[in-house]
């Protein structure tokens, strides 16, 4: 990374969900419109066949015909209205969002490099986006909305998607499956593609609740309606479920005790959240964590941490993010150490890197500083130099050059 050039490929690695979420939304809208068209027009077709039958009779009641025609008109008007609504309230806004996001990514290509103030603003927006994503995932919805409003990035974040997920999750944690089941039926095809068993698990849980309340007849009816269709893949589970009716809720028999365990609801809510993320091509961990992993691992050095015998690190640098033990230093414990095969020596006086233009000089006691900083110090102190760390003094001419590579 010697040049200032932007690593666009590296940056885009984390941006796939950014573009895909509105795109997946467009697909969902298309599927809904298709459903509407099929439902209304098939009914109209059937009605038209009836009309043909009536007409073939020769003698017919005009009122009957008019009734059927009216129903057809009604259907077509409903379809027109539904499609228009869908277009205005869903398609057009989603197009706008997708366009905004694609243009946001496009702007990277016209930036001159990391020094470009445009890029600084882009990076600031990116961090804001990640913070909104993190806040939404951890349930801090108000904070997320506040950031989005203040920084005007509502189109660049997925607040609605996450609030929806949260709503269904909360319902599950209050032991209600209805919202989750509605979501499953909306996303039937996509769930089938990823071979998700979420719908079955939800139906099974409702059945278990019926069994827990000893509503045995209702349970059997329920199982016939909703569980049997899954028999091919879940026969053992269904058999076990049917046997559950025999055991009371406080049974100690292990497999049936597990089925009655209320912990299942928590697992259901986690499974739902994962399925929702997968369907929307969202990652399972907040993007902020992914970026922090990379950043912290690149910075983590033994110099940032206390020695193993407990004495504090003498080389703590207030500017280094990983040196801060209360904040990022604590988080850096979970990432690997950085790997370096090349040396980079930083002067403790000026903070500048010591290289061929600014050679390192060594005191007789072994402490090293940059030539520029030492020459500046000597000019102010009449040829004398003092080591800031030990207090030893000597003449500038006593210092020797040191070679590190």
């Amino acid at each position: 990374m010697s040049a200032n050039k932007l690593n666009v490929e590296g940056i885009l690695l984390l941006e796939q969900p950014f573009a895909k979420v509105p795109y997946e939304n467009l697909r969902k809208i298309f599927r809904t419109s298709q459903k509407h068209i099929e439902r209304e027009l098939t009914a109209v077709q059937n009605a038209s066949i009836e009309l043909t039958k009536i007409a073939a009779q020769g003698e017919y009641d005009a009122n009957d015909a008019i009734k059927i025609i009216d129903s057809m008109i009604g259907r077509v008007e409903t379809l027109k209205r539904k499609l228009s609504d869908l277009n205005e309230n869903s398609s057009v806004p989603t197009h706008a969002i997708l366009r905004k996001r694609l243009q946001h990514l496009h702007s990277l290509e016209s930036m001159s490099g990391r020094d470009d103030p445009e890029f600084d603003r882009w990076a600031e927006t990116r961090l804001d986006r990640w913070l909104v994503d993190w806040a939404l995932r951890t349930g801090n919805t108000q904070t997320a909305k506040q950031i989005a409003k203040e920084k005007k990035i509502e189109a660049l974040v997925d607040i609605e998607l996450f609030t929806d997920i949260q709503r269904i999750e909360e319902a599950l944690l209050q032991y209600r499956c209805t919202d989750a089941l509605a979501w499953c039926s909306e996303n039937k095809a996509a769930l089938r593609k990823i071979k998700s068993t979420l719908e079955f698990d939800l139906r099974l849980q409702e059945y278990i609740e019926l069994s827990r309340a000893c509503k045995k007849e209702e349970a059997i009816v329920y199982s016939k309606k909703y569980l049997v269709s899954w028999y091919e893949t879940h026969d053992t589970q269904i058999k076990q479920a049917l046997a559950l009716l025999v055991f009371p809720p406080n049974t100690v028999c292990p497999p049936y005790k597990r089925l009655y365990d209320m912990e299942r609801w928590k697992n259901l809510s986690c499974a739902f959240r994962l399925a929702a993320y997968t369907l929307s091509t969202l990652p399972t961990e907040p993007l902020l964590y992914l970026a922090m992993y990379g950043g912290l691992a690149a910075l983590k050095l033994p110099s940032c941490y206390p020695f193993s015998n407990g004495t504090p690190a003498p080389i703590k640098n207030v500017d280094c993010p990983t040196c801060d033990p209360e904040c990022l230093g604590q988080l850096a414990h979970e990432v690997p150490w950085s790997h370096h095969v090349n040396s980079t020596i930083v002067c403790r006086i000026s903070g500048k890197i010591m290289d061929a233009d600014n050679m390192p000089m060594i005191f007789p006691n072994g402490y090293v500083y940059s030539r520029e900083a030492l020459e500046e110090m000597a000019a102010k102190q009449g040829g004398k130099v003092t080591c800031p760390r030990t207090g030893d003094t000597c003449q500038l001419s006593d210092l020797k050059k040191i070679y590190i590579s």
Binding site: C327, Q330, V346
Partner: protein
């Protein structure tokens, strides 16, 4: 991103739905879905009229054909839209050749979550997002150190004054912290005055009395350190107004960044005075991670998987991530012989010739009679005369 944007445009045209309220669109003959529906509606209305007035029943049989025809039209349109959607999806996928790296659960322990919340709330306060920080405190229950918050509020008060070209609060702070600034040889005070003077100059007309009086009043203490620059500030007057100044040898004085740079310069000095880091920690970490570090780590991981080799025992990253100079906070010494980083247990040692290797490597280079030969220059020296180096 040109290709996806083009596909999106095509899709939008196909899905256009002329709404009843838009008058401009009715003039354009767009062949979208409402048209066959409209036609169908019209025919049905006509049919109804015909039946009411008792006309030929054959018309009823035609209805079935008509409905089928219109449905086919609509299905055809839907197919076009579907294919356009597919093309859009493909063009987007092309822009992201590698999938998002999978990651295990991170930062789940209580200590980590607390540290993360603390980091984020400090970030909000430090960047002046006080409303957001309040919302966060209410939702997550994370408290901010009131002292820290007060310092950030103060900093933002001065920064917003600077935004409005008011250098007053900044000068107050400079006066209060003069010794700190002079120990760092900071040009902040001079920059502040220079900006104000230039604003006075470019917004007034000859003989620029106000500006000159201002310069006279502030010059004496600043003259020693900035005499040449003060001279330039005076002589640039011959090239006013601003339009001429831009193409003169004093063009740098017309650069708006002179005024815009005041805020970051001030923020740097303010934060250094309080022992805060000069950059926002979250931005630093985020920019490194999001700027290519992850893709390198992923590539490294892929290569190791292909070679079926294990990660090193020391839980280090498999590859080096190059850092720009502004992110070098510590000295890193990698022994040129062993390529290992120096540690407390294995410190860097300088031999008599001036070359440095790690202690372990020094041991390995030992020859008879306590002498050691440097691998880089032909000089030999005594092991006992090697000096422990502190970078």
């Amino acid at each position: 991103m040109d290709a996806p944007l083009k596909e999106l445009l095509k899709l939008e045209k196909l899905e256009e739905f002329p709404s009843s309220s838009s008058t401009s669109r009715t003039a354009i003959k767009s062949s979208s879905i409402p048209d066959p529906l409209e036609a169908l509606l019209q025919s049905l209305q006509e049919l109804k009229q015909q039946v009411k007035t008792g006309s030929h029943p054959i018309a009823l049989q035609d209805v079935a054909k008509l409905v089928d025809e219109k449905k086919k039209e609509i299905d055809e349109k839907q197919r076009e839209i579907h294919s356009s959607l597919g093309k859009l999806g493909k063009s987007i996928d092309k822009k992201f050749p590698s999938p998002l790296p999978s990651s295990p659960e991170m930062f789940t322990s209580e200590a980590s979550m607390a540290a993360l919340e603390r980091t984020i709330s400090q970030h909000f306060v430090r960047t002046g997002q006080f409303d957001t920080s309040d919302a966060f405190r209410q939702e997550a229950g994370v408290d901010v150190d009131p002292h820290f918050k007060a310092q950030c509020v103060e900093m933002h008060r001065i920064l917003s004054a600077l935004e409005n070209s008011d250098i007053g609060p900044a000068l107050e702070w400079v006066n209060a912290n003069r010794s700190f600034l002079s120990s760092r040889s900071s040009p902040l005070e001079f920059h502040l005055h220079r900006s104000h003077y230039l604003r006075l100059l470019t917004s007034s007309s000859p003989p620029y009395l106000e500006a000159l009086q201002y310069l006279r009043s502030i010059s004496p203490p600043l003259y020693d350190a900035h005499s040449q620059e003060i001279h330039r500030l005076l002589t640039c007057i011959i090239y006013l107004p601003l339009s001429k100044l831009i193409s003169s040898p004093y063009a740098d004085l017309a650069n708006p960044s002179l005024h815009m740079d005041l805020q970051p310069t001030f923020a740097r000095e303010y934060c250094a005075n309080l022992g805060m880091s000069k950059q926002l920690p979250l931005r630093v970490v985020g920019d490194i991670g999001g700027g290519g570090a992850l893709s390198r780590i992923e590539k490294g991981r892929k290569v190791m998987r292909e070679r079926k080799s294990e990660w090193s025992q020391t839980n280090e990253l498999p590859i080096e991530i190059p850092l720009p100079p502004e992110n070098r906070y510590h000295s890193i010494f990698a022994c040129p012989v062993s390529k290992e980083q120096s540690t407390e247990a294995n410190p860097p040692m300088m031999m008599g010739c001036g070359h440095v290797v790690n202690k372990d490597s020094l041991e390995k280079l030992k020859k008879a009679a306590g002498r050691v030969k440097c691998p880089y220059c032909p000089a030999e020296s005594f092991t006992s005369s090697s000096l422990r180096v502190h970078f």
